[in-house]
Symmetry: C2
Subunit: 350 residues, 2 copies
DNA sequence: GTGAAAGCGCTAACAT
DNA sequence: ATGTTAGCGCTTTCAC
């Protein structure tokens, strides 16, 4: 044992002294600047090892301020949902390529948390921010934008402020999912949707509505719910709907959390093999359920990657006009969505 | 529009000047120190608002160094797995109570990433680190520990270094799960385990072994696999095992990822209702599968919470001896684990 | 209760 | 190719 037991951390100055060079030289070595003699590099390395030196990136950041980016922030809704987790992973991948650290936090659909965490991340001087917004007013970001901090919105567009955005093709996805059910003969299709007035929720409902209209099917509010939060909510809702006089022959669920509840509810009613189901947004094990659940899959990995790449372009000085990218969805037939409507005496066009 | 279009961020000095006070007074306001006249507080607030000032926590951290903690690091394996996601959430909750930011990253079972990310987080001067280690040698942390940085290990104990640790009761959990199968008459029980020599994997196997020994059942390596990584690996493995001359009547799977593969494999063989299955570690929708999957549930939320709480105690100067906490597991019978063994002419003790 | 001066650990800008 | 000086934005220390 040589060193002192629990003393102050060594600084760049300590390393410089021991190596017999200037602090700046040590700095150059740590930033891999090419203009240092190999001999000195070695000396520095040895001295640093001996002192167990780790450079202080906080101090480095402070002085550099404006140079190479070091951190980006990521605000998602809830890592426990595979959609958010997947975004996190893909953002992390991109950030890593740039040698940048990600600060990620969950918002849990709270507009208040959105503001708080944004503020904290700005105070930490992240070099940019990726946000899946919880609230409906992002005007509080305008000042920051003017100060040059780049923001990219994922999954949901910003409101009252302009910024790059990457969205799922919600309306078309929804339209395709519902149309898929119609093609299997269904004309009475329930809609199970989440609370919330954010764009994706609205667009998914619009996709549903338009698909029905295309097929000249009336929209019946008796089999439409747009006020659901939890899996349990959805379970109860579908049970109620199925218990009415004229129950639907198919269900379109607009969120993966709700889809799980619908599966449970249909199961409880014993109609999971007769009532068709298509869910928006894929989920793990959907293919292992019986019947396996047909979904309109989003592509969260692409949403995260595209968003992160755009953010880094902005950080590196891209001043092109703000834009929105749409990531397509994919219908994955697995069984539940291919259950045909029961034959009915009349109707069935063609 | 008043302010300049995209100028430098205002500093504390700018606010001080505009408010007609000293920088220190602004600092006091921002740190909610009680010894500032209300009048001055108001002046500062107004000036800050006008300039759209956000204090720079990076600079604050630098000078403060040693004061109130501001950041902790969290290294988990993969947020996409509900076990990791749940740890992340509970750590975040605790950290928030202390007003501390969490820096979380995924290791993907890479010992190399473990070292890299540890190094980055130390360079960022986090105030403490929570680690689900990927590698089997954490001796590289010894120097850091000596410098006073606290570490707490989650889910897996550290090697070649001493630190606080929070673990699942792997061996007992596994023992209970396997015993549960034995109680349902099974004497031929396959073991599906993951690659990796880390403690939990070993202990889960030990629990299996000991349970068999208690029941005087021989351990048969023909129905034991400990080299599996993916869901697909597990699926293939169980299909192979079931296809042998004397297939097992029950399966114990030691990891939730593998359990999903086993379910798939049993399904493929059409034996999901005759071969019993108990999985270690719960997973979403386990209860919606048919039959629903009996599991030995871990409690990742508690692991994360307890670990984070211990870390904050250490950060705040707790110098008690290093210790290990064991978080109990819970057997959740759902159906797949309660399938009885087929009657056999002889055997069946009692 | 408030302020002035010094300094946290590093890097930019300029020498040399 | 290396060193010097100044200063990033804040907080500590100590004076008033």
């Amino acid at each position: 044992m040589v060193g002192p037991e629990s003393t102050k951390r060594p600084t760049m100055g300590d390393v410089a002294k021991l190596a017999g060079v200037s602090r700046k030289t040590v700095s150059r070595v740590y930033n891999s600047e090419p203009t240092v003699a190999e001999e000195l590099v070695a000396k520095v390395r040895i001295a640093a090892d001996q002192l167990n030196y780790k450079m202080n990136l906080v101090a480095s950041d402070l002085r550099r301020s404006g140079g190479r980016p070091s951190t980006i922030g990521l605000l998602i809704q809830d890592v426990s949902n595979e959609f958010s987790a997947s975004i996190f992973r893909s953002v992390e991948d991109v950030a890593e390529q740039f040698g940048v650290t990600v600060l990620a936090s969950n918002l849990d659909e709270s507009a208040e948390r959105e503001r708080e965490l944004t503020s904290i991340l700005i105070a930490r001087r992240v070099d940019g921010l990726l946000i899946v917004p919880a609230g409906l007013d992002q005007s509080y970001l305008a000042n920051e934008q003017r100060s040059g901090m780049p923001f990219v919105f994922l999954d949901r567009p910003p409101h009252l402020v302009l910024a790059d955005t990457v969205l799922s093709d919600n309306e078309n996805g929804s339209f395709n999912g519902v149309t898929h059910l119609i093609e299997h003969g269904h004309r009475r299709i329930a809609f199970i949707g989440e609370t919330g007035t954010h764009e994706p929720a609205r667009q998914r409902f619009d996709g549903y509505r338009v698909a029905l209209q295309h097929a000249t099917i009336p929209v019946d509010s008796n089999i439409i719910r747009q006020d659901l939060q939890s899996e349990t909510d959805a379970e109860r809702a579908i049970i109620e709907i199925m218990a009415t006089n004229s129950p639907p022959t198919a269900v379109f669920s607009a969120h993966n959390r709700l889809t799980k509840g619908v599966v449970k509810g249909l199961r409880t009613m014993g109609v999971e093999r007769t009532v068709a189901l298509v869910g928006f947004d894929d989920f793990e094990l959907a293919y292992l359920l019986q019947p396996a659940v047909t979904v309109v899959a989003q592509d969260p990995a692409t949403i995260g990657r595209v968003g992160a790449e755009k953010l880094f372009k902005r950080i590196h000085g891209d001043h092109s006009p703000v834009g929105t990218q749409i990531v397509p969805t994919t219908l994955i037939p697995r069984g539940s969505g291919e259950i045909s409507a029961p034959r009915r005496p009349s109707s069935v066009a063609r």
